[in-house]
């Protein structure tokens, strides 16, 4: 039995080396697997935003029921990863919750944007602060560190704990462009994921942060701004200003399988059903549009 062990060890080791060697020689012809051709078959890899991942994943699995020849792999990794991967051509689709133009190191001209959903974001505070509404100016002062106690905005005598989002994340970029107007946020805690922020805000007295609408629940207090409530309807008309697109980028125009899948993402099957279930707002329902610089215009 030991002899077998050793032999198998050698064989495996050899195989491992061989696989490594074999694959490294493949890597020169890497495009074959990712941006594959022929009309209704192929392999699509979509990488990037973790926030967008569940939606694309679900859509992909529905899509594949009717298009069995196309196989779609959806992965997270973050918007930055998605954008740089699609720019390198190593994946077919890069998911991002930030405009490619807004990201350093990405040449947005080479990429084609496919907006697939809109996500609204709302400031959230710990329930015990007693604050349900803030003016835009107050919100800005809180996040720039000028207001330090909840009693200054009509709440309890309690120090404010700002929980920001990770620098470079789409959520933070959206929030800062809508709220801070170019000023720098106060240095504070940073968290990357909606789930963790939700948990921290719900359990830390005096905490404030912001979350995508889909993460709002009764554990945290969503805050209205200037008495406008954070609802889908208000986002559609831009009465609620903190929102952004979810993008799926391709390098150049989408081809073949990718094009078919992206078209499916835009179809009412996805937009009416899935997008809403995910807590996103359908791109079809928007009455306004926003460009990469944050300028809003009517559709």
């Amino acid at each position: 039995m030991k002899k077998k062990n050793i032999i198998s060890a050698i064989v495996l080791f050899g195989a491992f080396i061989a696989v490594l060697a074999g694959c490294s020689s493949n890597s020169s012809s890497k495009s074959s697997s990712s941006s594959s051709d022929s009309s209704a078959s192929g392999k699509i890899t979509a990488v990037g935003s973790t926030a967008l991942q569940p939606l694309v994943e679900k859509a992909a699995s529905n899509f594949q029921k009717d298009n069995s020849k196309i196989s779609i792999t959806v992965q997270g990794g973050g918007s930055g990863t998605g954008l740089s991967q699609v720019q390198d051509g190593s994946v077919a689709i890069g998911n991002s919750d930030i405009f490619a133009e807004a990201k350093d190191g990405i040449d947005a001209k080479k990429l084609v944007d496919h907006k697939v959903a809109v996500v609204g974001m709302a400031p959230v505070v710990n329930k015990e602060t007693g604050v349900k509404n803030l003016t835009m100016a107050q919100l800005k002062d809180i996040f720039t560190g000028k207001i330090k106690n909840w009693k200054e905005v009509g709440g309890k005598d309690q120090e404010i704990t700002v929980v920001n989002r990770a620098e470079g994340s789409g959520t933070r970029a959206t929030f800062e462009s809508a709220v801070l107007g170019g000023e720098k946020a106060v240095k504070s805690q940073e968290q990357d994921s909606n789930g963790t922020v939700q948990k921290i805000v719900s359990s830390t007295p005096g905490a404030i942060s912001y979350l995508a609408f889909s993460y709002l629940n009764d554990k945290v207090q969503a805050v209205s701004i200037n008495d406008v409530k954070p609802t889908d309807k208000n986002v559609e008309t831009n009465d609620w200003p903190i929102w952004s697109y979810e993008h799926m980028y391709t390098k150049g125009d989408a081809k073949d399988a990718s094009a078919k899948f992206l078209k499916y993402m835009d179809s009412s099957a996805v937009q009416k059903e899935l997008v809403g279930k995910m807590g996103y707002i359908s791109i079809h329902d928007m009455k306004v549009q926003k460009d990469a610089k944050g300028n809003v215009s009517n559709k």
Partner: protein, 295 residues
């Protein structure tokens, strides 16, 4: 002073420490199991995960974790074995050996996120393995290697030199002596090491997010063709493991029952590790007894 008294005090302190640690451990395990066990149902174990509706299970994640573990062991164990034998039997006491030991220790102290990113750039992108079980297994091998190697070396060293002399004096080659006499005797120690490192592999998430991926595509458990992309055995498919699933559910999921899934998955993870632990111990003892004919 009073050695007797010191002895009593010291023993008392040690008992307190042990009690504290046991309490912490018991509390942790209790916390995880109490929170999770009520959520474990047959349905939970045998159905697919759901993204945004309640009632999803962890079937694929559980299988992926096990499969990834096995694959990791298949890759890392032989290498660690060879390296362990080298260090225990062939390495001379000089600066080269020093460098080798240092590099193994460095490998073990690399932050998992760095290993994950290294795996991501090298395996996923450069070698074009994609997000796959294979990428994940190789990335995990990076972790596993130093732990296993060290452990194997120690287990081999713990076998008395007399045994080796006995083997060589009979005209057996060093290699035969090592593989047939020393390794069987060191087996229980080696197995403990494998169990320990398996535990780490099982719970690892940060390195896998970027290598094995965070999605569990639907696979068929009846398709035994290892090269088919829908086969559960295909090592080139992306695979979300249980630990990654817990991470994902906790951080980004909008699943209504995320808390329950997370608690249940954690409990399942602990239970699986427990089972694995016990069975490895049992099998190890059996093998040892069989090899040594001890009753």
């Amino acid at each position: 002073m009073h050695p007797k008294r010191t002895d009593k005090i010291a023993t008392g302190i040690i008992f307190c420490i042990v009690a504290t640690v046991v309490l912490i451990l018991a509390f942790l395990l209790g916390y995880i199991l109490m929170n999770g066990v009520p959520d474990i149902t047959w349905h939970f174990l045998t159905s697919q995960a759901q993204s945004f509706s309640a009632g999803g299970g962890i079937r694929d994640q559980l299988f992926n974790s096990l499969y990834l573990l096995i694959l990791t062991l298949i890759i890392s164990f032989p290498i660690a074995m060879g390296a362990g034998i080298y260090l225990a039997e062939y390495a001379k006491d000089n600066w080269i050996t020093d460098i080798i030991r240092t590099s193994i220790e460095v490998l073990s102290s690399l932050p998992s996120v760095v290993v994950g990113l290294f795996g991501y750039l090298l395996l996923v992108n450069q070698l074009n393995f994609g997000f796959s079980i294979l990428s994940g297994a190789i990335a995990l091998t990076f972790f596993n290697l130093p732990l296993l190697t060290r452990n194997i070396e120690e287990s081999l060293n713990s076998v008395p030199d007399l045994q080796k002399e006995a083997g060589t004096s009979l005209g057996l080659s060093d290699w035969k002596t090592i593989t047939k006499i020393i390794i069987p005797e060191a087996l229980p120690g080696i197995l403990t090491g494998v169990i320990l490192s398996s535990g780490r592999v099982f719970g690892e998430a940060a390195a896998l997010i970027y290598t094995a991926g965070q999605s569990a595509p639907t696979v068929s458990y009846t398709n035994w063709n290892i090269f088919s992309s829908s086969s559960f055995l295909n090592p080139m498919r992306p695979a979300e493991t249980l630990a990654v699933h817990i991470w994902k559910v906790n951080t980004e999921a909008v699943t209504p029952d995320a808390a329950a899934i997370s608690a249940g998955s954690s409990a399942v993870l602990i239970i699986v590790i427990l089972l694995f632990n016990l069975s490895a111990r049992f099998i190890g003892n059996r093998i040892y007894k069989k090899m040594t004919a001890a009753k």
